[in-house]
Subunit: 287 residues, 2 copies
């Protein structure tokens, strides 16, 4: 997990987390968290990661934990947080259970999220993780289309080098040892179109035919959960391209997450998923 630069003032952190400025000072006084860098003048400066951890504490408190217990728990899990969107999402939202999905189901949900993202309006950040470059190349036309209207688009895969083609998704190589290399992710963080799917292939399927490979996955349309996935992905992106990650992070300030998730939106997404599954079952294709 990257340690992002301390750039946020206490007022900016307060706005991002929904807390009052004196409350953040009080947490620091009484619990030593969050502990910001200090300018020579004494002014506090927080990192984006501090913001994620504070948001995590807010969630734990909403679940009924005392402030001290919430901070202790978040700091404990943050210490050994895996550099994985799938795993990190599970740590931050225990209620978001993993499901076993076929490759067909993964494809159908991915396409459905992309469709919804196309149909959206307003600011958007779009992130994909493709394991292999060739998987991305097969979907590239779609993604270029999506990136045209998004304010930030990033794609992870085993690219040979980093590229930032104008008007197209930024291509970020994944180090060979990174666990992100095993992950499949599609994240659309946009107002009223938020959705994400993350998962990884279950191990021990070397001899399984491609079409029947099984994945363990989490997916959701809950705006706050999607935001967590986005932040986790941007943390990973910052290791390759701090600038691209920062640009996307700036967009997020304009995408609210506090609105309630709308059931009819999930129904619409489900309908798209069903349609894609139906199509796939008639003419199977490889990702």
């Amino acid at each position: 997990m990257s340690r992002s630069e301390p750039v946020l003032s206490i007022g900016e952190l307060a706005e991002r987390t929904g807390l009052a400025v004196p409350t953040l000072r009080m947490w620091e006084d009484r619990h030593g968290f969050p502990r910001p860098h200090r300018l020579p003048s004494g002014h506090r400066r927080y990192s984006a990661r501090d913001g994620e951890l504070v948001a995590q504490v807010v969630r734990e408190r909403a679940a009924g934990l005392s402030l001290g217990a919430a901070i202790a728990r978040v700091q404990r899990t943050a210490d050994h947080q895996e550099p994985s969107i799938f795993a990190g999402l599970g740590q931050q939202w225990p209620a978001l259970a993993p499901h076993r999905l076929s490759k067909h189901a993964m494809l159908a949900i991915s396409r459905a999220i992309e469709d919804e993202c196309c149909a959206r309006s307003g600011p958007a950040v779009l992130i994909g993780a493709f394991q292999r470059e060739r998987f991305y190349r097969r979907s590239e036309r779609r993604w270029v289309e999506l990136a045209r209207t998004a304010d930030g688009a990033l794609v992870f895969a085993d690219f040979p080098r980093r590229r930032s083609p104008r008007g197209r998704p930024v291509e970020l190589p994944i180090p060979p040892s990174a666990s992100l290399r095993r992950e499949w992710a599609v994240i659309c963080d946009a107002p009223r179109s938020a959705a994400c799917l993350t998962g990884w292939e279950l191990p021990g399927q070397a001899s399984t035919p491609d079409a029947r490979r099984a994945f363990e996955a989490r997916w959701t349309t809950h705006p706050e959960m999607v935001r967590s996935a986005t932040r986790l992905a941007l943390d990973l992106a910052a290791e390759q391209s701090p600038q691209a990650a920062a640009e996307c992070a700036a967009v997020l300030d304009d995408v609210p997450t506090h609105q309630a998730d709308e059931p009819e939106r999930t129904v619409a997404l489900t309908n798209r998923i069903v349609a894609h599954l139906d199509a796939l079952s008639h003419r199977p294709r490889r990702r």
Copy 2:
């Protein structure tokens, strides 16, 4: 999960849970929990299960939950608690992770717990779950020996009928549909000798040779966790024999759980396990 009879006065419940009497009244006033039966005079009467749930709330509070959140969580999980020692233990103690163990390891740990139990002094409750009667018959001599010095000894298996042979473990049949039928359990609840092992066979091993069957198991020497296992088992026992369960429950009042778990005790148990594993690897035997 059985609904045991409401027999405890508020003073008895307070002693069992370590709470003050006015605190229990306060919980009921402000949160509607625990809600006891009432005698015509108005006096409260609680069930043993109420005691378990209150103890569970105490644990959640120790983990940092507010009283209201702790009660809500315990009531939610209690509603769909599985009639299984293994599963119930996992619900009540999330930190007690399951491990995948070979049948050899299960046997070695079981034998080690039985050894420790033999070496103990003071009051003891002893419980076994054997899946098949023939597994129990193979160990019966050991268990009769153990039961001689224990104050309560119960054994679950697919017995044709319930028996209470004098000076021997009470034999409790498991209904064919019960999930307990798949479980393996050895519980020794005694001062300074507390230990338990519970597990079940992983499904889909019909074609696996007996010696290589794999189990998913939890085991511990933590006195409070062992007590939870005992209570879960006694709840299940009460369905077959309320009297035997009540007699064992009465013994537990004399077995303290508040003492710290002693590391050297776990080391001693581990040494026994290693010795048994070593012996098993030289002359494999069936349970």
